[in-house]
Amino acid sequence: MKTNSQETTASIWVEAIRKDRKATAGAIIIGIFLLIAIVGPFFVGDPHEPVGIPLQPPSRSHLLGTTGQGQDVLAQVVVGTRMSLAIGFCVGIIVVMVGALIGITAGFFGGWVDSVLSLLINVFLVIPGLPLAIVIAAYLPSGPLTLGLVLVITGWAWNARVLRAQTLSVRRRDFVAAAVVTGESSLRIVSREILPTMTSLIVAQIIGSTVYAIGAQVGLEFLGLGDVATVTWGTNLYWAQNDSALLMGAWWTFVPTGLCIALVGFGLTMLNSGFDEITNPRLRLERVWRAFLGGLGRPPEPSTPVVRIAE
């Protein structure tokens, strides 16, 4: 376990992605979207500005047509990509960071620390995510930051649970026991001995959490719980619905955005499948599930057999 730690992990991933056709496809899709998110907005106009007759089908002047308010759909999709991916990835990373902090602390120290933190984790797993999100959103003015915060609060516990379980099992290994006996500081043991064994799991979790974050964000915004004044994929769909796009047959106002969301989710899931070889297969079930349930507005999955066994 310890032999293939830091210096080789990066190359293992690259190798894993390259080896697996699906992962390669996923990486390419995500790469393209990242490129769009970074440079795309410089090439399109102001997505708020009404530029033409409302609800025009795609044409040469507006490649993806116009919205119910005469805004350029292409501009909205591109600018929305930046915002949605930014929220998605940031939330994905923060969710796992919070989860790791609490989960690893609980797993490493055990005893009453573990009891208290486990209870906290499980309570957050049990509380339905959507109402919690609405309640939190009600305190704060709606916007990307609020939305991100909501997603972190409702999403961290699952990661914490898995990482706690993983820490528990690593903690029992000989090399960790040896480090404890030699009197190394807890921080050092965690960062030098335990974390490296979990890097691949954490990366997989970040990807999974990003899928969850994007799905849940789009769902909340579609319900009108986000800031509908900003341009994101979720608000694009909200406005499309608001302008009766479906009734008018204005497919161009919602198909491109839906397709983008699906492609990013698909790309991330495929990318993750490349890590399957180096992550614990037992954990995979939950990750996949979680991404799916997240997209449905369901709270993440709490239970894992690993926990049971480790307990």
């Binding site: 009404p50 308010q69 709606s142 004044a229 608001n242 009766s244």
Partner: protein, 555 residues
């Protein structure tokens, strides 16, 4: 792999069954003579037909169909229509209101209606303040039955506008409600009432139906058999049902209605959006600088291109407000004349800039304006995240102001959070509605009466911008005591003049009264050609829908 094969066969088989089922008829056939109405959006219905409890305000048919008021106010014709009440007059120097009630009205259980039921209803509201949603006991001293056809309302002070609150009160039968222990929480599952539709023919959580009152006092009416209310959880979903002929009468916001609805079936799909709703204002918090300066408020008003805003936010369904700020519900009231020069309720960006300069909000080299003391100006305009028309309007306004050098951003809140901020005066700029009555009294009272001003931090239901005008106070006081319609018109003109000079708030547009109807199965809806009443099912609060319900007939 026998098991697998069996599974496949089973699943294919069940799919076939479903496909067969699916091939049956799915255009829902409506029973003859049943009018399908969509007014409020609910995921499922709860059986409650209590007309008195405030919370049940949502249950539309309870207030306009099952129970009836003394007088129905027709906001299109601006007149009271005698209903359970036949006539009224003021006695004892306008201290007493005497109402003659209609003879030969029966409750739906066959018992006769009398003035005693009216007295009982009002007494009940005194006993249970939770039922007094119009606050009539703020100005009433007593209600006395004179004889079986006459009720006297004794006022504690002269308050002519109080008539409207009394007129609109739904009346309940004494012989039923006197036996009810707690009328506030009474669900009244099988209502006994005087309205045209009183019989609950079916009640399921996804749909309910109200049948005709067998003893309705208007002989031969209603012509329709029953009302049906499907539960539709969202506006969008209700619109789909409307467009596909599943709903006959609706009061929803339909975007681009000519394309979405009318064009599908121009012969039967109709709408009429008379501008009789409340006026939508941009409220500037006058307790904050620089909004305390009337010149700034006028400048902010002139900066807004209202027509553009209405096109963008409201699909062009309204018109820009005029200097009186009154909606078309007051069409019969005279309006003040103002010169183009001094009119601040119109688009005039140059004048807006000039006026801001005059107010001392000078432009710096970067194109931003400052207060005279040098602090930069930055506003927030707050609105509700789900209300798309307002969000769009706010976006237009924010962009306009930013171009003027007043950096403005839009903040959206969930509605209770938004409302809390507005009530407590915790905002710079906010969109809001006006309060309406049959005379402009209520309208102007909540815009500029000193008594409605509360300090910042204390919640107030109206006058969120916190503006009190001593001049207006005098006129409003006179209005309360004036029963003569001609003199009321003079007072209205004076109020309009004060509003125009002091600019307490910035009127944007009168809200349309949403009404879509499908003439495939029913005829007799009000329309622009036949404007006999307000066409919207949303006008339940004062029983106005009764006018429509008793005029409709099956094709």
């Amino acid at each position: 792999m026998k098991g697998r094969a069996r599974l496949w066969v089973a699943s294919i088989f069940s799919l076939l069954i479903l496909a067969l089922l699916a091939c049956s008829d799915h255009t829902q056939v409506m029973p003859e003579g049943v009018l399908v109405v969509s007014q409020e959006q609910q995921a499922s219905w709860i059986r409650n037909f209590n007309p008195l409890t405030t919370a049940a305000a949502a249950r539309w048919p309870t207030l306009a169909g099952i129970y009836e008021p003394l007088f129905v106010y027709n906001s299109v014709k601006a007149e009271y229509v005698p209903w359970l009440g036949l006539s009224y007059r003021w006695l004892s120097g306008n201290q007493v209101l005497r109402v003659e009630t209609r003879d030969s009205v029966l409750w739906s259980d066959g018992k006769p209606f009398s003035a005693k039921d009216v007295t009982f209803t009002f007494k009940l509201m005194k006993q249970f303040p939770a039922l007094d949603r119009r606050g009539v006991w703020n100005f009433l001293a007593d209600v006395i039955t004179v004889d079986s056809n006459t009720v006297d309302f004794h006022f504690s002070r002269i308050y002519i506008p109080g008539f409207d609150e009394i007129a609109a009160q739904p009346i309940v039968p004494e012989h039923i409600w006197s036996k009810i222990e707690d009328p506030v929480t009474y669900p009244n599952e099988n209502p006994v009432a005087t309205g045209p539709f009183t019989e609950v023919r079916m009640f399921k959580n996804q749909v309910f139906e109200l049948g005709r009152n067998p003893h309705y006092w208007q002989k031969g009416l209603p012509k329709i058999e029953a009302l049906r209310f499907p539960a539709l959880p969202s506006n969008d979903r209700a619109n789909l049902a409307l467009v596909f002929d599943e709903i006959d009468w609706a009061g929803n916001f339909v975007p681009a209605i000519d394309r979405v609805y009318v064009r599908r079936d121009p012969e039967h799909h109709h709408y009429w959006f008379p501008l009789t709703g409340s006026t939508i204002f941009l409220y500037a918090n006058t307790t904050r600088k620089p909004f305390d300066d009337v010149r700034v408020r006028k400048a902010l008003s002139m900066a807004i291109d209202r027509q553009f805003l209405i096109d963008v936010a409201l699909f062009g369904y309204s018109r820009p407000s005029d200097p009186s700020a009154l909606s078309d519900a007051y069409a019969s009231w005279p309006k003040i004349e103002v010169s183009e020069q001094e009119n601040w309720v119109r688009y005039n960006p140059e004048a807006a800039r000039r006026m801001l300069d005059e107010a001392g909000l000078v432009l710096d080299s970067e194109g931003r304006r400052h207060l005279p003391d040098g602090s930069p100006l930055e506003f927030e305009i707050i609105t509700v995240s789900g209300w798309s028309d307002w969000v769009r309007a706010c976006q237009v306004i924010a962009r306009t102001y930013t171009e003027l050098g007043l950096k403005t951003s839009v903040r959206t809140y969930d509605f209770s959070a938004w409302f809390q901020n507005v009530l407590e005066g915790n905002f710079d700029l906010a969109l809001g509605w006006s309060y309406e009555g049959p005379t402009p009294y209520v309208f102007y009272r909540w815009l500029m009466a000193s008594e409605t001003v509360k300090p910042v931090g204390e919640a107030t239901t109206g006058n969120w911008h916190r503006y009190g005008s001593p001049r207006a106070d005098d006129v409003l006081k006179a209005f309360e005591k004036e029963a003569d319609p001609v003199k009321q018109r003079d007072l209205s003109l004076r109020l309009q003049r004060i509003f125009f000079e002091e600019a307490p708030a910035i009127p944007l547009y009168p809200n349309p009264s949403w009404a879509e109807y499908n003439a495939r199965r029913f005829v007799g809806f009000p329309s622009a050609e036949n404007p006999y009443a307000d066409p919207s099912p949303n006008k339940f609060d004062r029983g106005e829908c009764l006018l429509v319900l008793t005029s409709l007939r099956p094709r």
